[in-house]
């Protein structure tokens, strides 16, 4: 296991470097800079000084080299906008984003997996059809629109929940953004679970178990569920990473203080260190979740080896 983990960690280094380079090159090529985005009527003298202060008049390769050197020491640089260390900014935002993602994923798993199971156990039934209608609708609906609908219904019409904000990080503020973010992975999980279970139900080892006289409940629990979990886990892992990116829209809509809204403002204002740092964290998070999933494969199915 340990050599496998070390190998996987080492494999991320070129990926991270490639991402950093890509973002750096992109922001060097696209027009606009932090200086021009600060105000509509800023002073040219101040702009020149700001460019010098931020090192924006240095050649790209020098800036990139300096950034990489700092990155190697764990220094993500200083934000052009806030003049704060990027690590501090990200640290403040990471908690709410993780809170939102975990809540969304919990919702997706708790609703999506049973929905898929129930649908697969009664294929062609009304339950199956209804579940898949819910799943397809969830996949098709834009998060922005869904969020507004939920706000309208649960905040304005029913008055059960606040429509926006973070409060003290409490549950009532988390529900609407988490459901908005979680509907899409919930739908995907429902469809994936259904397909996986249907396929496993027709497998030879399931037929063998049934022919040995095992009860249907035991067949589902010990053979179907356990084998379906590997597929479900893969989907969960991929969705966890994707949610980090999708949270951008939801955080902005609900004024949720996460890394997504930081990324949006940083991109719009060409705050390159903050963009770099935020993207890097998203990439590392994606990697970490996938590594965790790889480890969990072994726990669920001992046949999987880490050679």
């Amino acid at each position: 296991m340990l050599p496998f983990l070390i190998r996987r960690v080492l494999q991320t280094i070129p990926t991270v470097l490639a991402v950093v380079l890509l973002v750096f090159v992109l922001f060097s090529v696209v027009p606009g800079s932090i200086v021009s985005s600060m105000s509509d009527d800023s002073d040219p003298q101040v702009e020149l000084r700001m460019k010098k202060q931020l090192g924006l008049d240095d050649p790209v390769y020098l800036r990139f080299g300096s950034y990489i050197a700092k990155l190697a020491t764990g220094d993500f640089g200083t934000s052009f906008r806030t003049r704060e260390p990027v690590t501090t900014m990200i640290a403040k935002r990471m908690g709410p984003t993780l809170q939102l993602i975990f809540a969304a994923m919990t919702f997706a798993i708790v609703v999506g997996v049973p929905l898929g199971f129930i649908a697969a156990l009664r294929p062609g039934s009304i339950v199956d059809t209804a579940s898949m209608v819910v799943a397809v609708s969830g996949l098709s609906m834009a998060k922005f629109w869904l969020g507004l609908l939920l706000m309208y219904l649960f905040a304005l019409k029913l008055g059960w929940l606040p429509s926006f904000g973070y409060g003290e990080g409490g549950g009532k503020y988390l529900i609407l953004p988490a459901v908005t973010l979680g509907v899409s992975p919930m739908a995907l999980l429902a469809r994936t679970t259904r397909a996986a279970v249907l396929e496993i139900m027709t497998a030879d080892f399931v037929r063998t178990a049934r022919s040995k006289g095992m009860s249907e409940a035991r067949v589902v629990k010990w053979h179907v569920m356990r084998n379906a979990l590997v597929i479900i886990l893969t989907t969960v892992g991929l969705q966890f990473g994707a949610l980090m990116g999708q949270a951008v829209v939801v955080e902005k809509l609900f004024s949720w203080p996460g890394i997504g809204s930081l990324l949006v403002d940083s991109v719009l204002q060409r705050d390159i260190p903050a963009v770099q740092g935020s993207i890097l964290v998203v990439v590392l998070f994606f990697f970490a979740i996938n590594l965790l999933i790889d480890v969990l494969y072994g726990v669920i199915d001992p046949r999987i080896r880490y050679a």
């Binding site: 027009p31 003298q45 905040a155």
Partner: protein
């Protein structure tokens, strides 16, 4: 149009009078919104000039002057008196001796001097340097040639002498939060950026980045009996639709409205009464580059003004959320000339002018625009067929707003559409067209006109306020005739305000910037 303005002003006065008639209530929470982005830039207000950041800064900080919306001009705030001498260049300020920072220390002249020296630190590039630079010796500090601004002299703890380089009203230079006065001892510490200390009516409690800033009443604020509210919460809400739901759900007290919401709120009897509007000091226009041959001819520029049905665009596309521009200076400018009339929609006249200028078949140009709904792509798309009818073809070049600013300053365009601050100081707004103003500074159309320069120079020299206004009006009229731009509109800022929030000021410099100490909530507020 003036009737509308008069009605709006009347409504504003009526609102103010009603508020005054009631007894200001102490206590409660004011729940404002910051609609211009997903975050605040910084808690160090010297570093940021975004309108978004000044919303909270109006509660936390104070500058030497403050904008008085009722009078439409800056008035003394941290000083009780300004004695002018030295041919209008020397200002001796009697500072307040009852202004306390939120750490309990009294403000003195040293804090003002320290703050202005800080802003002029050339290595930090603080945006407020453009204002402080008007003090003699400030530029030398910026260039690193001096350590302290020579034009600032402490007479005693509460008397400050300020020598300017130009004969200007310092109020226009020292009223925004960019020149806020910081406590010299505390602000030098690293921790200040996390826990800012100011002189404002509310002190800092917490900042949840990307979500809100919370402030609470500062009991030692120097205005007796103020502030009224116990707390101010400024929530970041960049999405208009989300703000709309939150406003209808009574979760917020103020919400900036876009054109579509403006129409919806006007049509809703329950919300119509919440609308507050003011002509802000921003002019929207299409700038024409005189180095592009057709635009070098005044007749072509005038033809464009005649060819566009501006009223139609304002009514149909901008949904009436703007005032027709008659020239450069906006309606709320003290030098606005009410007698001026906008260019009429007259395509025949436009054709005639184009023929006289040697373009009977028209010409083609590239029009750089952002996506802005009020002064960007939708407007350009509506204008193109109108120009086409007189033979002028426009090709659209779409860029981001930040890029547009860069394009304009570099002069790398044939035409662009933009929204530019044209106040509150009319002299500064018109000075942008003076030939001595560099193109990247704000003379974006590279305008050069000897008659205009002469009028502006005279306006800058005279001590007679009425004569100055007259000269500025003449200069503004000259711009109308020279038509360096298509005069589109002046922004009508619209905000929905809950009925329980009283004391809203019609701030023409930016409606969201409220002197929070004058606001109060009545007992019907859900956050009373």
């Amino acid at each position: 149009m003036f009737r509308i303005v008069a009605i709006v002003a009347g409504l504003g006065l009526a609102l103010a009078a009603t508020a005054e008639a009631q007894t200001q209530r102490k206590g409660g929470t004011i729940r404002m919104t910051a609609p211009y982005g997903s975050s605040f830039t910084s808690l160090d207000i010297h570093t940021t000039q975004r309108a978004q950041d000044e919303i909270y800064a109006k509660a936390l900080h104070r500058s030497l002057y403050i904008w008085n919306s009722a009078e439409g001009k800056p008035v003394l705030e941290l000083a009780k008196e300004d004695v002018v001498s030295g041919g209008g260049l020397v200002h001796t300020f009697k500072l307040r001796d009852d202004a306390y920072f939120h750490n309990g220390r009294k403000m003195t002249a040293d804090d003002v001097i320290w703050s202005y020296n800080r802003i002029m630190d050339g290595t930090k590039a603080f945006p407020g340097a453009r204002f402080v630079r008007v003090i003699e010796g400030a530029a030398a500090v910026e260039k690193g040639q001096a350590k302290e601004i020579s034009g600032l002299k402490k007479i005693d703890d509460f008397t400050l002498e300020m020598k300017l380089t130009e004969k200007v009203d310092p109020g226009f230079y020292f009223f925004t939060a960019l020149t806020s006065i910081y406590p010299a001892d505390e602000a030098a510490k690293e921790s200040f950026i996390q826990n800012p200390i100011g002189l404002g009516p509310f002190k800092f409690v917490e900042h949840v980045p990307g979500s809100r800033i919370v402030l609470e009443r500062w009991d030692r604020f120097y205005k007796p009996g103020k502030p009224y509210a116990d707390k101010v919460i400024v929530s970041i809400m960049a999405e208009a639709a989300a703000r709309d739901v939150a406003f209808r759900n009574k979760e917020i007290d103020t919400s900036v409205l876009g054109p579509a919401q403006y129409v919806a709120y006007q049509a809703d009897s329950g919300l119509k009464g919440t609308i507050v509007e003011v002509a802000e000091v921003f002019t929207r226009y299409m700038g024409m580059n005189p180095s592009f041959k057709p635009f070098a001819d005044k007749r072509v520029r005038q033809a464009i003004n005649y060819a566009i049905d501006t009223d139609l665009i304002i009514n149909k596309l901008v949904k009436g959320k703007a005032y027709r521009a008659t020239s450069w200076l906006p309606l709320t400018s003290p030098a606005y000339d009410k007698a001026m009339k906008p260019y009429a929609f007259d395509p025949a006249k436009a054709k005639q002018l184009l023929t006289e200028a040697g373009y009977p078949s028209g010409f083609e140009f590239e029009w750089t625009t952002s996506q802005n709904e009020s002064w960007g792509l939708p407007i350009v798309s509506a204008v193109i067929p109108m120009l086409d009818k007189v033979g002028i073809k426009a090709k659209v070049k779409q860029v981001e707003t930040a890029v547009l600013a860069e394009v304009i300053r570099s002069g790398d365009y044939q035409a662009f559409i933009y929204s530019q601050a044209t106040g509150p100081d009319p002299q500064a707004a018109l000075k942008c067209f003076h030939s001595s103003t560099p193109q990247p500074a704000c003379n974006y159309m590279n305008f050069k006109n000897a008659d205009f320069d002469k009028m502006m120079d005279e306006a800058g020299q005279t001590d007679d306020a009425a004569k100055r206004t007259q000269l500025l009006q003449k200069a503004n009229a000259l711009l109308y005739d020279e038509a360096p731009v298509w005069f589109f509109n002046y922004n009508k800022a619209v905000m929905a305000v809950q009925p329980w929030l009283k004391g809203i000021q019609l701030n023409a410099t930016e409606l969201t910037h409220q002197n929070v100490e004058d606001l109060w909530v009545d007992e019907t507020s859900p956050a009373k």
